[in-house]
Symmetry: C2
Subunit: 313 residues, 2 copies
């Protein structure tokens, strides 16, 4: 199985109460790819500038990530994001965004990228998402987006959502997209647009999975964020979640039954938790598969009831 992802491949400048980095590898497609690389063959698609060099390619290739569809634009600058977090690490404050080579990006997928079994459209302009989707008819596809596109490109975003199987966005964005404050109703409204599954990302509260719209087939599953005493940089947590989720689904053969989707939620949660322990890609780039499995089992232990006898009261 193989997975193609399109999204930002970037440099980030980040400051949190626990430190700062002036220029580190980042971007949605990078965090996604690193997380997914533990489960399957993953291929990020997107442009970078001259400033993206051997060090960055090596970090990706060391995790077995296929980098042929990362297009190096001569004379261009890579996407750049500067942001900070205060006491509340759930809120990212954006200080600067420079699209760089993404401003002129016209996706042209390689044959290998086109023939992926699974496609993830990370958060970029929805017209670009649609151009990529048109080239890659993958059997299972997902999409992330953000408030900016809901506000400025809603028609295009709606069309993009109609073309994918699974929407993975923050819960506030599901509400905003549908105009429905109740999350269960908002998720149903999304599924009526086309997707068969909706994953609501909830920051430190974890993530919730909605599937099915009828009385017979609708299902709900939720996992808390993995409890950590040391969270240093939340940047990329949502992309790492998506990478763990889609990476696991693709790597396990594309089985989309409820049990496998729930396991994928678990792997997404685990990858997001490692991501936030250190800055940028620092933690995930040296992560070992055994650490993932160990934390997955710990997470399972944190969410299980045991046998429940009737109370005496």
């Amino acid at each position: 199985m193989a997975l193609t992802v399109v999204g930002s491949i970037a440099f980030d400048a980040v400051r949190t109460p626990f430190g700062e980095r002036e220029r580190m590898l980042g971007g949605a497609a990078v965090h996604f790819s690193l997380a997914a690389s533990f489960f399957t063959e993953v291929r990020p698609v997107g442009p970078v500038g001259d400033d993206f060099g051997g060090e960055q390619f090596e970090l990706l290739e060391a995790r077995g990530i296929a980098t042929e569809d990362i297009e190096r634009v001569a004379g261009g600058q890579s996407f750049f994001w500067r942001g900070h977090y205060d006491f509340d690490l759930n809120v990212a404050h954006t200080d600067d965004t420079q699209l760089g080579v993404f401003g002129e990006f016209e996706p042209k997928l390689s044959d290998a990228a086109k023939s992926a079994d699974t496609l993830f459209l990370a958060n970029i302009q929805p017209d670009l998402q649609r151009q990529v989707r048109a080239q890659c008819p993958a059997g299972f596809s997902g999409l992330d987006s953000m408030n900016l596109w809901i506000e400025t490109a809603k028609d295009s975003l709606t069309a993009a959502i109609e073309e994918v199987d699974c929407l993975v966005v923050n819960d506030a964005e599901i509400r905003m997209l549908t105009g429905e404050s109740n999350l269960a109703r908002a998720a149903r409204a999304v599924m009526e647009m086309g997707p068969q599954a909706v994953v609501a990302k909830r920051g430190e509260y974890g993530a919730a999975l909605f599937t099915g719209t009828g009385a017979e087939d609708q299902s709900f599953f939720a996992l808390p964020g993995f409890p950590l005493e040391d969270v240093r940089d939340p940047t990329g947590a949502g992309d790492s979640f998506a990478g763990g989720f889609f990476g696991y689904l693709d790597g396990s053969g594309g089985d989309l039954d409820e049990a496998n989707l729930r396991r994928a939620m678990g792997y997404g949660t685990v990858l997001a938790s490692f991501n936030v322990e250190e800055f940028g890609t620092e933690r995930v780039s040296r992560l070992q598969r055994e650490e993932i499995d160990e934390r997955f089992e710990a997470l399972r232990g944190m969410t299980q009831f045991e046998g429940v006898p009737a109370p005496r009261g």
Copy 2:
């Protein structure tokens, strides 16, 4: 087993996007008692005014709640709260609070109230909580509080927390109380004050349970809020959660092992979910035990992984 709870016994005026009520039975001790009444013998302690009459007593007594420790103050007015909720039902806006007879309240527990096995100190002025605790040496005790007391009576609140076994508050209040933004660290800081367990209430995101502080004994469990398409009035959800949690623990014989605490989290979640389906006490006052058990099983189904084979990737 028997449970004593002290807290507001009140009339509420509430407006939400789904309707409004001008004067309905409410208050923390009322919501708590109704929820707990499905599991054990519960006895609310607190003052009411002349305006609290037969209709209110009958509603409580119909659920088997012992009302002898509800003190009717001649010439007094019951506690009154007026509030509203907008699009985001997680945020309560307080428009008016009138302490009424609570302003002069000096708790004098009956022998029956004093001899309870379990004590819950719902959110009131922490000096009052301590006065009640001094009269009731119950083997298991819990406490709720709010930002107001953290800001205005922190020393007294700290002393009250030191005297109980389990703190049950909103996660923002755990952070505020400890000055620690990381919830896992904040919960540990609370346990170092005295309590052996901390329950963080998280609104629609559910609740998390922290126990133990050492590498060997620390444990974490979290449940999402039960997903509902119709939430009409969130007032009292947290008190209903606490009532289900402590009521189940008391009714099941006071067994405080991890598995029983987790089941109690489940019952708390279920009772809170029924509470918010309609205004005030409307839903819980006509709830049936079978509905609770059915929803508990549904909740369990929403939080279980099934057998997890190794992924192929």
